[in-house]
Symmetry: C2
Subunit: 201 residues, 2 copies
């Protein structure tokens, strides 16, 4: 069972980060972060098909997802997820990999920026396409071992990220309860299962 | 070990569906399938943040993913995934849920359209957000039991879908080999594991 003080603290954070008002903005298409491009593709069988590709900023949206292990617990992040039912999401540190950055460096950078923690070593668990029909985004899941806090968070203007430690069983409970609901965090939970069940409680 | 005739047939299909040429199209923004909208959100703690939302056609992109069980095998689909390294993807039938359609009906419709199979009953395995930072898309995974072929495929102009039967162990091998690489299919494989290990080989 999830520790009482943990679920209570989580609920306070969720309450704090909930969306209470939405205002639509009119910004010019060329200033948007989410863009798309259209293409024809000729296949080996001679057929021609038409597809659109999602662009995020100046990249393809590939992300690194990090499961940071601190002693025998996992560091989770809680942040506004304004388009979901709860309007707040619980998951693992994650962020877009910059152009010309390798996934491991992106993972370490995002972990430090979002939480102020660094990792002693990273284990690559899996890679997957987030939306293979219309995006090049290839996401990478890393287990980060022996993490420790070395500095404050370093967040962008529009980023609000709280963090908390849970053990692995509590994370599975949080998923069951519907708090962890993003595909990145769900796949990270699955792909780390063998490791987590063996090494930390 | 995956059956030799299965992997050979799969490789022939992959070869056939590979992209050999890409041509960029100039279409007007308003005609695109992938669109975005910008918003401000006021949070309960008083902060205001800015976010963009991905729109797909006239919906939010929520999809149904179906793992169709036929005797003791699972029906997989092979289709062009032009933005991936292989340019072809192997996974499970899936498609966007229409506005005012419930996820189960969407799952049954997509299964029939993409493969010509119908299911005797559907079991809901999980639901997850595909890209919780910038999309409302909530995807639903269903196990479809006692499926049988009743008609031909009914595909859109730009859809090319081949299908093949594999057993569950072969699917895990295909994932290991890097053929199954989309988050929808990977999560379906994980969330059906308990059922699959128990009931079909």
């Amino acid at each position: 069972m999830i520790r009482k003080e943990k679920i209570e603290k989580l609920k306070v954070i969720i309450e704090e980060l909930k969306t209470i008002k939405v205002i639509k903005r009119n910004i010019k298409q060329e200033n948007k972060f989410l863009q798309s491009e259209a293409y024809y593709f000729k296949l080996n069988n001679g057929k021609i098909i038409s597809r659109e590709k999602l662009i995020k900023g100046d990249g393809n949206g590939s992300a690194a997802i990090i499961m940071p292990v601190v002693n025998n617990e996992v560091l989770t992040v809680i942040e506004p997820r304004v388009f979901t039912n709860l309007t707040v999401g619980i998951g693992f540190p994650a962020g877009y990999i910059e152009n010309n950055e390798n996934p491991k460096d992106g993972a370490l950078r995002e972990l430090k920026e979002e939480t102020g923690y660094i990792a002693q070593n990273l284990i690559h668990l899996d890679s997957f396409y987030q939306d293979e029909g219309c995006s090049e985004a290839l996401n990478h899941i890393f287990l980060a071992l022996n993490c420790k806090k070395v500095c404050e968070q370093s967040l962008d203007k529009d980023e609000i990220i709280k963090y908390m430690l849970f053990n692995y069983e509590e994370l599975l409970e949080l998923e069951q309860m519907g708090y962890i609901k993003g595909c990145n965090s769900k796949l990270a939970l699955e792909k780390s299962k063998t490791y987590m069940k063996g090494s930390i409680k």
